[in-house]
């Protein structure tokens, strides 16, 4: 391993080091503030190193990992979102009575898993990353175990995630049986008409089941609303953004051109349509903000799959841009939920937001921007994301998928607007007990909101970054 390789590994090494330091620190002396400080510093340092090591890319490190601009781009996105989650966690878990420090340990560990995922080009690293992520997530979801739904959510996630991992492993075994190769490039070279098709297609289907579960796309979406509702708000943000981003990034590497296998293409098209419909229509009758956001995330990954199915650099560009948009927007939305939550429970009832604009104009404006961005309204990054996806769809002439996207996203508008209207309604007589909003909370929401709107007006730098990243991977 030469120095360039070590350099390219730096973000991973730094994150791994943060895990160790946090763990050893906890073994010596418990201090909530110090643990949080080390975590955030570690994540920020790793993020900085991502920017610094870009010139060293691409580096192939053992057959397992490929650190190219694509991997670095996603590692940057993952680290940034994890840092935001860590910031949001600070006041939130301060109210938790005992053993609140481990939440940071789990958070960094899960981040490490995500970073391995996006750099992996081999089944072994794929599984390694996925399991590091999943095992930490079990703990994170059920962290506030005194609360009603937390254990239910944790166990649900544990059982379903293990089952899906089993599917994934079986799929990998089948593909390995056909190709004799565990690297992703093995399947890429294989033709579907060959004698091995009988093994490869079921293999891909089973692997897709595992991936579909992690993304929470229909029909593997049943865990999503319950886990979103039961998990503590910042952890929900992590599940919704970082973990899903990593899996989509992996999917693009795993199946860069799904049209190569018509049956697989068909199955993914059905999944995309089902997710867009299920997510948007099931959300209509929800009155819990976290559940609404859960169903909306099902729909959003349906949109992402439309771009994924479009293939080509246009499609992968659209996927990547949409993921950035989705991450920033969802973090802002869950950030507001986190800041309004107190130790009794999360502020997840729509009624908690009645009249919020007249009480907390800053937070309500941020939440409005986030909801409009999720709905894909211009002047927000969400609109450009949707535009990019539609452009990729038009480029690939996927008219049916585009029409479904348009129709379902109009249905989606309805529930976003319901939350928005509630925020701008007259305030109730007795406003709910809301905690004081901390300065770092305002900072996070403010920065994310500005980012949402700024990139909504001026996306060019981000577009260039993404084009450079996906051009190399393709």
């Amino acid at each position: 391993m030469d120095s360039m390789m070590t350099l390219a590994l730096f973000p991973l090494l730094l994150t791994g080091a943060t895990v160790l330091v946090v763990m050893l620190g906890l073994a010596c002396k418990r201090s909530y503030a110090v643990t949080a400080g080390i975590t955030i510093a570690g994540l920020v340092a790793a993020f900085a190193s991502v920017c610094a090591v870009t010139p060293a890319a691409p580096q192939k490190i053992t057959p397992l990992l490929l650190i190219d601009r694509y991997a670095l781009f996603y590692q940057g996105l993952i680290l940034a979102s994890a840092a935001v989650v860590a910031l949001l966690c600070y006041r939130y878990f301060e109210k938790h009575e005992d053993q609140r420090e481990e939440v940071y340990l789990l958070l960094v560990l899960a981040t490490l898993g995500c970073m391995v995922l996006v750099a992996s080009v081999h089944f072994v690293s794929f599984l390694l990353g996925l399991e590091v992520l999943s095992v930490s997530l079990y703990g994170m979801v059920a962290y506030w175990k005194e609360r009603g739904h937390a254990l239910e959510a944790g166990i649900k996630y544990l059982v379903l995630a293990s089952a899906s991992a089993a599917f994934l492993l079986f799929g990998m075994a089948l593909i390995y049986g056909a190709t004799g190769d565990m690297s992703f490039s093995g399947i890429r070279d294989l033709s579907v008409s060959g004698s091995s098709a009988a093994l490869v297609l079921p293999g891909i289907a089973l692997a897709a089941t595992g991936i579909g579960f992690k993304l929470g796309v229909a029909p593997f979406h049943l865990w999503t609303p319950d886990v979103y509702q039961g998990a503590p708000a910042p952890m929900t943000a992590f599940v919704a953004t970082t973990s899903k981003v990593a899996v989509v990034a992996l999917l693009l590497r795993f199946l860069p051109a799904s049209s190569q296998y018509p049956p697989v293409h068909l199955v993914f098209s059905i999944i995309a349509v089902a997710s867009m419909c299920a997510g948007n229509f099931l959300a209509l009758r929800q009155s819990n903000v976290k559940r609404i956001l859960a169903y909306s995330s099902i729909a959003h990954f349906g949109y992402v799959l439309v771009a994924f199915l479009a293939g080509s650099t246009m499609g992968s560009g659209a996927v990547s841009f949409y993921l950035v948009a989705y991450t920033a927007t969802t973090l802002a939305a869950f950030g507001v939920v986190t800041l309004l939550s107190n130790s009794d429970g999360d502020a997840d009832d729509v009624e908690d937001y009645r009249g919020l604009f007249w009480r907390r104009p800053m937070l309500a404006s941020g939440f409005t921007a986030a909801l409009l961005s999720l709905a894909g309204i211009p002047a927000t990054i969400g609109f450009l994301g949707k535009f990019y996806i539609l452009a990729a769809g038009a480029d690939a002439s996927a008219w049916l998928l585009m029409i479904v996207l348009v129709v379902t996203s109009v249905a989606g508008l309805f529930y976003y607007l319901r939350v928005v209207v509630t925020m701008y309604s007259p305030a109730p007589e007795a406003p709910p007990q809301e905690p004081r909003v901390s300065w770092e909370g305002i900072l996070v929401i403010g920065v994310l909101t500005i980012l949402l709107v700024w990139l909504g007006f001026y996306p060019d730098p981000l577009l260039r970054l993404i084009r450079a990243a996906v051009a190399i991977s393709a």
Binding site: W358, L372, I377, P378, A379, F383, F387, L390, A391, A394, D395, M402, I403, V406, V407, S409, V410, L413, F414, L417, R418, V421, Y424, Y458, P459, D460, L463, R464, R467
Partner: protein
């Protein structure tokens, strides 16, 4: 640059208005008034220099690179048509601020913020000649309008606002898909990625032309509104606050007509002509349906809303007849309808502020207590029913003259619409203002502020009705340009 300023002034003015409300609730009103007046003056300045660029017909333009990765430009341009629409926008914007002066008492800063931003959105729609920018502005004007309806509206405001939003957004997304299809078709034909209007003109689309045209038509039809997709309109107009109704009826409906003129025929001449019989039939159904529905309303504001469906039917008729007379008529109708219906909404809003009801059954005899208010109501109703000498007459007459050349039976039916408009307008005056004062209303008459608004709009309608020449002359070069672009290749060959 001046065109960019027009929008920037409104956007910044809106922010300033929102902030200034912290100190004083009168400040946002004055700031908005000043900003919109400034815009009106700037528009007048642009119009002084009416010598259009010979090659593309623009009087003034700005063109900046915006998102080079997609070939998107920030390209604003005006010709005579957009200039008139801009002048109407700012004029009705001033009316909107003035008629909210005493009606809006709560959340004044945020109200003016939304008012200014909706005007900015509408102005950008009239200015944008990059299709991406056009779509951007098209959607951007929805949000503030939505807030105006759901925060300051009447009883069923949330229902009406949501319905308005869903209708326009759904049709807007269809237009986005159509824009993208056009974008890629143009790329296939020429190898250039661009959203630029003047470059997309004349793109060869083949069989895809009709579906793409329908995508555009869907968006404009909902806004205009064309009958069958008009159902958002009565709700939104009725529930919106007065300024919201004025802007909806006076301006937002016009963006639909403007879109049909600017984009549908020039970009898709063949499909446009194929679609003409359907569109003309829809127009005539709309004219008669709107008039009949207006006649049977008991809610005064809903009545005025339905008259819009009828009047905008004439605009659709004129545009799809696509000959010079009909087009002149359509544009005149758009402008005059903005003034007369906007004014009627101001009258109804003023009345509601005084008697707290819009129910025709609870009115009557208002003339005896508020003669000046009632007289202006009569004047605008007469304008709206097409009394010769007032603006609407000129527009509708020209439309009928033009459509006569295209289809005599349809023109005959459309003329019935004018007849029906006499019934609903006179019924409204008779039920609301004439008769004995059975409810013993004691009302203040027009305040000086209201008197000023009314006189300005009365003067405008008289001017347009008696001496429309300057207006016709302003948009004629633009109209000729559009017609040249929309010339079918076959028609050119025949000449």
């Amino acid at each position: 640059m001046i065109l960019f300023l027009l929008i920037a002034i409104l956007l910044l003015g809106g922010i300033a208005a929102a902030i200034s409300a912290r100190w004083n609730t009168r400040l946002p009103r004055w700031i908005s008034l000043a900003a919109i007046t400034l815009d009106l003056l700037l528009t007048a300045r642009v119009s002084v220099n009416t010598a259009p660029n010979a090659s593309n017909g623009w009087i003034s333009e700005v063109d900046w690179n915006w998102v080079p990765s997609f070939g998107i430009h920030f390209h604003l341009a005006v010709d005579g048509l957009s200039l008139l629409m801009l002048a109407l926008t700012f004029f009705l914007g001033i009316i909107g601020v003035l008629c909210s002066w005493s009606e809006i008492r709560e959340k004044v800063g945020f109200f003016h913020f939304n008012l200014m931003w909706v005007l900015a959105g509408i102005a950008s729609v009239f200015l944008a000649v990059d299709l991406f920018l056009f779509y951007f502005a098209w959607e951007l004007m929805l949000i503030p309008m939505y807030f105006l309806i759901v925060i300051w509206g009447h009883e069923r405001r949330v229902y009406a606002g949501t319905k308005f939003f869903l209708f326009t957004q759904c049709s807007g997304l269809l237009m986005l898909v159509a824009i993208l299809a056009l974008y890629f078709a143009h790329h296939q034909a020429t190898g250039v990625y661009t959203f630029e209007y003047s470059e997309l003109l004349g793109t060869h689309l083949g069989g895809a032309e009709l579906p793409i045209m329908l995508g555009f038509f869907a968006a404009f039809a909902v806004k205009l509104p064309v009958v069958f997709v008009h159902t958002w309109l009565p709700d939104a107009h009725t529930e919106a606050p007065t300024a919201g109704s004025v802007i909806l009826a006076g301006l937002m409906l016009k963006t639909g007509g403007y879109g049909l003129l600017r984009f549908v025929f020039p970009l898709f001449p063949r499909a446009g002509h194929q679609f003409t019989p359907v569109a003309l039939t829809l127009a005539v159904i709309g004219i008669i349906y709107g008039a009949v529905m207006a006649f049977s309303q008991t809610d005064l504001k809903r009545l005025v809303a339905y008259t819009s469906v009828s009047h905008l039917g004439f605009v659709l008729l004129g545009i799809f007849s696509w000959n010079p007379l009909a087009l002149q008529g359509a544009i005149m109708t758009m402008i005059c309808h903005g003034l007369s219906t906007g004014a009627l909404f101001v009258v109804v809003g003023g009345l509601q502020e005084r008697i707290h009801t819009r129910d025709l059954d609870r009115m009557g005899g208002i003339w005896t207590v508020a003669p000046r208010l009632s007289a202006s109501a009569l004047f605008f109703s007469l304008a709206s029913l097409g009394l010769p000498g007032l603006g609407d007459f000129v527009g509708e007459f020209l439309v009928l003259l033009g459509s006569y050349k295209v289809s005599i039976p349809l023109t005959a039916f459309a003329t019935l619409g004018i007849l029906a408009s006499t019934f609903y307008a006179l019924r409204m005056i008779q039920r609301a203002f004439l008769g004995p004062n059975a409810h013993s209303w004691r009302l203040p008459d027009l305040t000086p502020r209201e008197g000023l608004m009314m006189s300005a709009m009365i003067a405008g309608l008289l001017w347009l009705g008696l001496y429309p020449q300057p207006v016709l002359k302003t948009f004629t070069p633009a109209m000729d340009h559009l017609q040249r672009e929309a010339q079918m290749p076959g028609a050119i060959a025949r000449r």
